[in-house]
């Protein structure tokens, strides 16, 4: 894996496990004559590492349940990681408590997926946007400057001062997403974690928001961790793309490398499944059968082998690690060692 010098974000061996099953009584199972306390765990993220340089846009793609959103929310420290390191601007925040996180919040902000649920319906726009700023404000002068800053922020994302006094329900989906962006931008962070920021929007509005996010990157040198399931969006905005499956990173490469020479069978399947308005190039098409296994019960060996058209016995025995294959591309697949098996 190529290491960016002085990265904005570096994640090492991140794991996030969620215990499920509720209270004691729910977990107590009668099993072959004896009582047993079950402790089911969802392994949402299983050792993910990557880094993002300053001003770089890194996308994580994958299907629902692949852990991409969990990675985003763990990095934003909505969740506390089970294992691993999260370095933001050189500082490991994986174990930080509330007070230690506060200064980090000024460097890292988040944009959410649902433009309806991500804004408190009972707050006015000016209070929504001001929230991160007010937490960072240390002096009365800081606080006094907030209204001016909000006006500038709203103008920057394409809203006007008159909008500041309105409630979220008075806006369309695209405008709400702009409000969410203004909120994230308010503390001038160096990194924005964007969790599916355009997937709830109509295509014409989606283009507006993508353009805005790109402009903001150019203007402020922002780095984005951009979570998406839509490959065409990712191709448009990302500099680097990581592909996730069942909580594992299976491939990580610069955008053009990934889209022109995908190596992992899953990446190849994703690319060929994506619908396009262009007539289908019927060259290489990997069609997957079956569905994603449960994160409660991960397959032994390679996580993808249950759906992989190439899988052989080694894939069941041995979990492939990410290997550098040149051009900044890393792949976790045994085909890298045995390319002669790359025939369905």
């Amino acid at each position: 894996m190529t290491l960016t010098p002085d990265p904005m974000l570096e994640v090492r061996d991140l794991e996030m496990h969620f215990p499920i099953g509720g209270g004691l009584l729910d977990r107590l199972k009668l099993d072959s004559g004896g009582l047993r306390l079950e402790n089911p765990i969802v392994r949402a993220v299983n050792g993910v590492s990557f880094s993002i340089g300053r001003g770089e846009i890194m996308a994580l793609v994958g299907e629902s349940g692949c852990g991409k959103s969990t990675v985003a929310k763990t990095i934003a420290r909505i969740y506390k990681p089970t294992v691993g390191e999260i370095h933001v601007d050189g500082e490991d925040i994986a174990g930080h408590g509330f007070a230690e996180m506060l200064p980090v919040r000024a460097k890292m902000q988040m944009i959410f997926q649902d433009p309806y649920a991500s804004l408190n319906p009972r707050q006015k726009v000016r209070d929504i946007v001001a929230e991160p700023l007010l937490e960072q404000a240390k002096t009365a002068a800081d606080r006094k400057a907030v209204p001016d800053q909000i006006e500038k922020l709203l103008a920057r994302v394409g809203l006007n001062a008159e909008h500041a006094g309105r409630y979220p329900h008075q806006f369309s989906g695209g405008q709400r997403q702009r409000i969410g962006i203004a909120r994230a931008l308010s503390v001038t962070p160096g990194l924005i974690v964007a969790d599916e920021p355009v997937s709830a929007l109509d295509v014409s509005i989606q283009a507006q928001i993508l353009n805005l996010m790109k402009d903001l990157r150019d203007e402020f040198g922002l780095a984005y961790l951009f979570i998406s399931h839509d490959l065409s969006v990712v191709h448009h905005i990302a500099d680097r793309v990581g592909v996730m499956y069942l909580g594992f990173m299976v491939e990580n490469a610069p955008r053009d490398v990934l889209f022109s020479r995908p190596r992992h069978p899953y990446t190849r399947a994703l690319l060929s499944a994506a619908p396009s308005i262009k007539p289908k190039r019927s060259s290489e098409e990997i069609v997957l059968s079956g569905e994603v296994p449960s994160a409660l019960d991960l397959p032994e060996g390679c996580c993808f082998r249950t759906r992989c058209p190439f899988a052989w016995d080694r894939c069941a025995r041995e979990r492939p690690a990410l290997q550098d294959v040149g051009d900044g591309q890393t792949v976790a697949c045994h085909l890298t060692d045995e390319p002669e098996r790359d025939r369905p």
Binding site: F98, M110, S118, E135
Partner: protein
């Protein structure tokens, strides 16, 4: 305010006869409670104003009735109509205060249980479950016999009975609110848990409580009346509607029905009005029925 009169809420209110009847009855009682002492000549609890010669006068439209006492009098010559107006004050006061106390306590406990989960949640909700498995009148009766009678004791008993429904509702809505992205956004903005609860969770879990609170005032009036009727409620010097019924009940079968029937009708109308309006609110505020 013009906004309110043009709102869908007001529009539907105008078209709902149950809402209009309910709120009219509630308005009548509000007026009676506030202006009661000015409406009647006699203060029924001023011993000096009573005249034993006036005792057990029937309602004015019956033979032997006296126009000074439209609904008749009791054994001590107290005007039943005046007693009802004074008694309604105490009943409504108890209902409202106990509701506010229950709502505050229940909301607080529900927020804690829902937001923090874990042990706090387990303890609070198990207490609530246990409490719900007994009839509330039984719990109130038990508490009253333990702590003694008096308006303050009634309030404590009613609050102890009433918080559960708020706690359960608030816990449920809190659990669904904290999953929403705006709560996560507040976390990312750097807000402390307390601030998140106060600024984000609390305002968004209050709406369903309006309906519960409205109906609960009616329920509390009834429970208080039952307690007083059983003799463990308010003291004889501050008779609520329930105590009036009890006092009249002793002579009910001697043909002196008006001393208990009229307070009974008063309770029924009050609770009926509250429930009618509460039902309208429930239909209006429940997004699922829209």
């Amino acid at each position: 305010m013009t906004g309110f009169f043009q709102s869908e809420f007001f529009h539907n209110y105008k078209r709902s006869s149950s809402a209009i009847i309910g709120s009219a009855l509630m308005a009548f009682f509000a007026f009676a409670v506030l202006a009661g002492p000015f409406l009647v000549a006699q203060d029924p609890y001023d011993i000096a104003a009573l005249n034993l010669m006036d005792s057990y006068k029937p309602p004015m439209w019956l033979e032997g009735g006296d126009p000074r006492f439209p609904l008749g009098t009791d054994g001590q010559g107290r005007d039943v109509w005046a007693s009802i107006l004074y008694g309604a004050r105490i009943s409504v006061f108890i209902g409202l205060v106990a509701m506010i106390a229950s709502c505050t306590l229940g909301t607080l406990l529900g927020l804690i249980a829902g937001f923090y989960g874990g042990i706090a949640d387990a303890i609070i909700m198990r207490i609530a479950d246990i409490q719900l498995s007994f009839p509330s009148i039984l719990i109130a009766l038990f508490l009253m016999s333990a702590v003694g009678t008096g308006i303050d004791k009634v309030l404590i008993a009613l609050t102890a009975v009433g918080w559960v429904v708020y706690a359960r509702t608030v816990r449920g809505s809190t659990l669904s609110e904290i999953e929403k992205e705006y709560v996560q956004a507040a976390k990312v903005a750097g807000l402390s848990n307390r601030k998140i609860i106060r600024k984000h969770v609390l305002p968004n879990v209050l709406t369903p409580l309006i309906v519960i609170a409205t109906i609960q005032v009616g329920t509390f009036v009834l429970i208080e009346a039952s307690l007083s009727f059983l003799g463990v409620g308010v003291p004889i010097t501050q008779p609520s509607l329930g105590l009036l019924i009890k006092n009249g009940f002793d002579v009910l079968f001697s043909g002196l029905w008006w001393t208990s029937v009229f307070p009974g009708v008063a309770i029924m109308t009050l609770v009926f009005g509250i429930n009618l309006f509460g039902d309208f609110l429930r239909d209006e505020l429940n997004p699922r029925l829209k």
